[in-house]
């Protein structure tokens, strides 16, 4: 099976598996750990099936189109480099799952831990397998996010939370820079496919955009791989549980930056800027990290800075830009993984057993925990680069390369500094051995240490075996190093890994390193005292200060502009709109008016005058709220009349029915709100607002006048021409609603339904909160009507109900050909129903209401949606309508159209939403002490007569 589709499965497996631990934790910790291991093992096996092909030098790939318009596809490919990293991620992942099972205490939520771990594993796998840089960026960000969860796993520890935030900030910011760099690369090449980009090295290096792309991508890689000056986040991330440190900070996350530099090596490396930026940064980081590591007392901090130093070493090797350096780098990636993961786990074991990681409180552990001591000593020796362990070979290769490197015409500076780094590296490795395991047994450990159970040391022991094996028989690793180095360089490399190269300059450098390292350790006490007195910048303090300034600046901007004074925002918004509009109006240079003005009959003057008068009254009388409601309803009526006159019968129908429900709604709300608005604004503010308002009104009027006097070309002619032919209806407005732009209408009824449900939910939340108590304790309207449900109103609405429903059905049915349709019909019937609520009271009417308004909205949307889907069955696009004619002999020709089913959906949704809104508002009356009426009206004369009848009969 070599079509590569298996790769997508490998990449997705951890994500699928991430769902499992959360569930399996209920079956116990062993089951949880085992089920976490399953997806990892499966992925490892699937990866294994691809090994032969990759070893032959083939590239396995697969592509699933995702968003081809954006150049984004879910493409994966596996070459030597990918195989190396994928193997490390899954292999070490498996060891970590085992180790974490025994490391985590029973108080830690293990299911959560494994879920985060698998998410992270999936993200890392995604990075190394992606064949599309956009996809790679997504996975890159996912590693930042999932590592944030892992580092901050111990949420109760402030260091954990701060470390996680710092890691996220630094790597996230780097990720943003990298997005920019990658997009530039994609733009240069014209493709976001990694394999295409890798083939265009010459083009990219010649591009004027090479430098920006290089710098942005390197910022991403350097932040992720903790290179100077971004190295400071890594030690703080050590607040994570040790399995996380071992996984993220030895084998995976911090190597992502290295991976990226290796991946991009063929297109970015080999230039002067690359050499000076990458090699120099790597060199500085290597030396700095090694020096600081020597003076750290916390075991994990020591290992963290050692990791920083080794990452610097790898960066430097990649920066050299030679084939041999790449081979050394690839080999060192493997070796660093083996000894550093084992060392982290050893530190974890020591911490677990002795309850401290402070080197100054340890010592003499070799006698108490011999197995741990053996593992720790061997791996630390490898870290120092001791013959015959694997660390020695790659370190010799590094020194060999450094010895030949000329930096700015200076042949000495790189070898000397590399040797200096090696000296400190030897010193801190020896310190790890002698100060922790060596020396006499002490009697003041916080807890008496002894060797842990097998499960805890199995993983580091296995890695130690690898350390020794690779050291003794480096040719075992040669095939993997070969394919990986071939993949990085894109050339044929022939590495010959061997333990003994003879007496070379590199060997002498090593000898110096060991001698100086030993001296440094002997002098450690004195040096430590000097180090403690040295002034040095504290990265965390600087970081915190920078963050604080950012937060303060953001806060100042946010609170300065967003200060809670809404009337000011609105005023600014209006003024800004007027200014922009005026600028366009006066600078655009309009053509002369082309339309003749229509005459104005006297009746229109009357309507205009009443509209202006009503608006004036609403504004001037707005403090008397009830009065202003009456005036505002005049405006709605005048506008409806205007629609009739100006050839928009559908709008007139809709406007007048919406007007009715709006006024009902506002009246209901006004019952609970204060009836008067206090006079609060000063005269100055009123004047200012009036000026703004008149300017705004004038501007809109001028704009309206401008287009009303000019002709326009619109697509309406198409609608008029096709309404009958295509939609089967003569009411073009209705055909547009249910057919041409049916998708809009579909969205709109959903919005309306959501508005109804929102109101229902808001009311529900309100009535559960403190407001409910306030409602109960207050009399809202002191002057209540004494006949709440008057006889005349009840009788009239009852008689009108069937007529109103018939009118509604009539309006609905004629909608396709004459003014009307689902919107208007829904509104008309809801008014008829609301009248029943008004006449006989909420509780009385609600008791007789059998259909839930929620489900009415739901059915409306479903029916409209199904009508649209029906078009698919006929092989047409969504919401294509069909129609035809039936002929019943006694009656005239009868038209059917699928649009009608759609309109039915509109009708139901509108009816349900309007009813739900007003129903919700009326519902609060019950909380405000409204009594339940069981009779339909206050005084029922028919009962009186029945009583009289009885009395008469009684007599």
């Amino acid at each position: 099976m070599n079509d590569g589709s298996i790769l997508a499965l490998v990449a997705i497996l951890p994500f699928l598996g991430a769902l499992v631990p959360g569930i399996m934790i209920r079956a116990g910790r062993n089951a949880c750990a085992s089920f976490t291991a399953v997806p990892t093992i499966l992925a490892l096996i699937l990866l294994g099936t691809q090994v032969p092909a990759v070893m032959r030098g083939e590239v396995v790939s697969t592509t699933i189109e995702w968003l081809p318009q954006l150049g984004l596809s879910a493409s994966f490919f596996l070459d030597g480099l990918g195989l190396l990293f994928a193997g490390m991620i899954l292999g070490v992942g498996l060891l970590i799952i085992l180790y974490a099972r025994f490391y985590l205490s029973s108080d830690d939520p293990m299911g959560q831990f494994y879920t985060y771990l698998l998410l992270f594993q999936g993200a890392m796998l995604g990075i190394v397998l992606s064949d599309n840089i956009l996809l790679l960026l997504i996975f890159w960000e996912l590693t930042s996010l999932s590592s944030f969860l892992l580092i901050g796993y111990w949420k109760h520890l402030p260091e954990g939370r701060q470390g996680a935030r710092m890691a996220l900030t630094v790597t996230g910011a780097g990720g943003l820079a990298m997005i920019g760099g990658m997009l530039i690369l994609g733009n240069i090449v014209g493709s976001y496919n990694l394999t295409d980009i890798l083939a265009q090295g010459e083009l990219i290096k010649a591009s004027e955009w090479y430098m920006p792309a290089l710098i942005l991508i390197l910022i991403g890689a350097f932040t992720k791989s903790a290179q100077f000056p971004f190295h400071f986040w890594l030690p703080h991330a050590m607040a994570a549980p040790t399995p996380v440190s071992a996984y993220l900070h030895s084998a995976t996350m911090v190597k992502a930056g290295i991976f990226l530099m290796a991946r991009m090596w063929p297109v970015l490396a080999g230039t002067e800027p690359w050499f000076y930026i990458v090699a120099t940064t790597g060199l500085i980081t290597m030396v700095l990290g090694a020096v600081i590591a020597l003076f750290k007392d916390d075991l994990k901090a020591l290992l963290a800075f050692s990791t920083v130093s080794h990452l610097g070493l790898l960066t430097m090797l990649l920066g050299f830009g030679t084939k041999a350096a790449v081979i050394a780098a690839v080999f060192h990636i493997i070796n660093h993984l083996t000894f550093k993961a084992a060392l982290f786990m050893t530190a974890g074991i020591v911490d677990h057993e002795a309850h401290t990681r402070d080197v100054k409180r340890l010592g003499g552990l070799a006698k108490l925990m011999p197995i741990t001591a053996i593992i720790g000593t061997i791996t630390a020796l490898s870290m120092a680069g001791t013959i015959p362990l694997n660390g020695f070979i790659s370190k010799e290769m590094m020194l060999e390369e450094a010895a030949h490197t000329v930096w700015y015409n200076n042949p000495w500076i790189v070898p000397v500094l590399a040797t200096l780094g090696a000296c400190f590296s030897v010193a801190y490795s020896f310190r790890f051995i002698f100060h922790v395991f060596g020396g006499p047994v002490r009697d003041d450990y916080p807890s008496t240490p002894h060797d842990p159970p097998f499960g805890l040391y199995a993983a580091p022991a296995l890695l130690t075996v690898l350390v020794v094996l690779i050291g003794a028989m480096p040719f075992l690793a040669e095939p993997l190093v070969t394919v990986a180095a071939n993949a990085v360089t894109g050339l044929d490399t022939h590495p010959h890994l061997k333990l003994w190269h003879g007496v070379t300059p590199a060997l002498w450098m090593s000898v110096v390193a060991f001698a100086v390292g030993g001296v440094l350790l002997v002098l450690h006490g004195k040096l430590d005292a000097i180090w403690a007195r040295l002034p040095r910048p504290e990265a965390k303090a600087i970081f915190d200060a920078v963050m604080e300034r950012c937060v303060a600046t953001a806060k100042a901007i946010a609170q300065g502009t967003h200060n809670g004074v809404m009337s000011r925002y609105l005023a600014l918004l209006v003024v800004a709109s007027i200014a922009v509009g005026a600028h366009a109006y006066f600078t655009s240079g309009m053509a002369a008016p082309t339309r003749e003005l229509l005459p104005v009959p006297p009746l229109i003057w009357v309507g205009w005058l009443s509209l202006v008068a009503a608006t004036w009254l609403v504004v001037s009388q707005h403090r008397k709220r009830f009065r202003s409601l009456i005036f505002i309803s005049i405006i709605g009526l005048v506008i409806s009349g205007g629609f009739v006159y100006l050839s928009a019968p559908d709008l007139a129908l809709t406007q007048i029915s919406v007007e009715t429900v709006t006024i009902m709604l506002l009246l209901l709300a006004l019952y609970f709100l204060p009836k008067d608005t206090p006079a609060e604004s000063s005269n100055g503010k009123r004047l200012r607002d009036a000026v703004v308002a008149i300017a705004g009104g004038g501007a809109v009027a001028a704009l309206a006048m401008a287009f009303l006097t000019r002709d326009v070309d619109s697509i309406s002619a198409y609608h008029l021409a096709n309404s009958y032919k295509g939609g089967g209806g003569t009411n073009v407005v209705n055909v547009i609603l249910v057919d041409f732009r049916g998708y809009d209408t579909y969205g709109e009824i959903i919005v309306l339904g959501i508005a109804g449900l929102t109101i229902f939910a808001l009311m529900d939340a309100l009535l559960r909160g403190p407001a409910a108590k306030r409602l109960r304790d207050r009399a809202f309207s002191p002057d209540r009507s004494r006949d709440r449900h008057p006889l005349m109103m009840v009788v009239a609405t009852r008689a009108m109900l069937p007529i109103a429903i018939m009118v509604g059905i009539y309006i609905f049915l004629r909608g396709h050909n004459q003014p009307g349709g689902g919107f208007v019909a829904g509104l008309v019937i809801s008014i008829a129903l609301l009248m029943q609520y008004m006449a006989s009271g909420f509780a009385w009417a609600q008791l007789r209401q059998r259909i839930e308004y929620h489900s009415m909205i739901g059915w409306g949307v479903i029916i409209a949606g199904l009508t649209g889907v029906g078009a698919w069955l006929a092989g047409k696009p969504f919401l294509t309508s069909a129609y035809g004619y039936l002929h019943f002999p006694p009656i005239e020709e009868f038209e059917w159209a699928t649009a009608m089913a759609f309109d039915l959906g509109v009708f139901l949704a509108v009816l349900g939403a309007v009813m739900l809104m007003l129903y919700s508002l009326s519902r609060i009356a019950r909380f405000a002490g409204e009594t339940i009426n069981v009779t339909p009206m206050d005084h029922d004369p028919s009962e009186d007569s029945a009583d009289e009848q009885e009395q008469k009969e009684g007599q």
Binding site: G564, V565, M566, S567, V574, R595, L597, L598, P599, I604, W605, W608, L611, T615, V618, V619, S628, I635, I639, L646, S647, D650, L651, Q655, V658, T662, L665, L666, L673, P674, T677, P678, E680, S681, A690, V692, A693, G696, V700, A701, A704, M705, L708, S716, H719, T730, V732, V733, I736, E748, A755, T758, I759, L766, A771, R774, F823, V910, V914, M917
Partner: protein, 122 residues
């Protein structure tokens, strides 16, 4: 006629703007209602004005029609603006019942309370 419609839109807009700049929720709701009228008529008017030309196809005579497209858009806009007004009313009512005041501007006391809540989150 054009002057009539344009000036009516202007008057409604001016009234609406003045009212949304008030300090209490109810006038702001009224202002939004006035602005909704203005916007709906404005959108309708983009189809230009025509008298006695409803967009109902007449199969028996060759007549002119007013522009149906803005009408269709405004029809849904009218219904949606009702929904929006209803949500606005509900929020205003909820705010009034919770805070016992229908002022729309945040007071200093509100801001202090918000600060405190933020402080607890850290």
């Amino acid at each position: 006629m054009e002057m009539i419609v344009a000036s009516a839109i202007g008057v409604l807009t001016a009234g609406g703007i003045y009212l949304i700049l008030r300090l209490r929720a109810f006038p702001v709701i009224l202002g939004m209602a006035l602005l909704s009228y203005a916007v709906n008529v404005f959108l309708f008017a983009t189809g230009r004005l025509a008298v006695n030309a409803p967009p109902i196809l007449n199969n028996y005579a060759d007549v002119s029609y007013s522009d149906p497209l803005p009408q269709a858009l405004v029809l849904t806009a009218i219904v949606i603006s009702f929904g929006m007004t209803a949500v606005l009313v509900m929020i205003a009512l909820g705010a009034y019942l919770e805070a016992d005041s229908d002022e729309i501007n945040m007071t200093d006391a509100d801001e202090d309370a918000a600060e405190n809540e933020e402080g607890q989150g850290v």
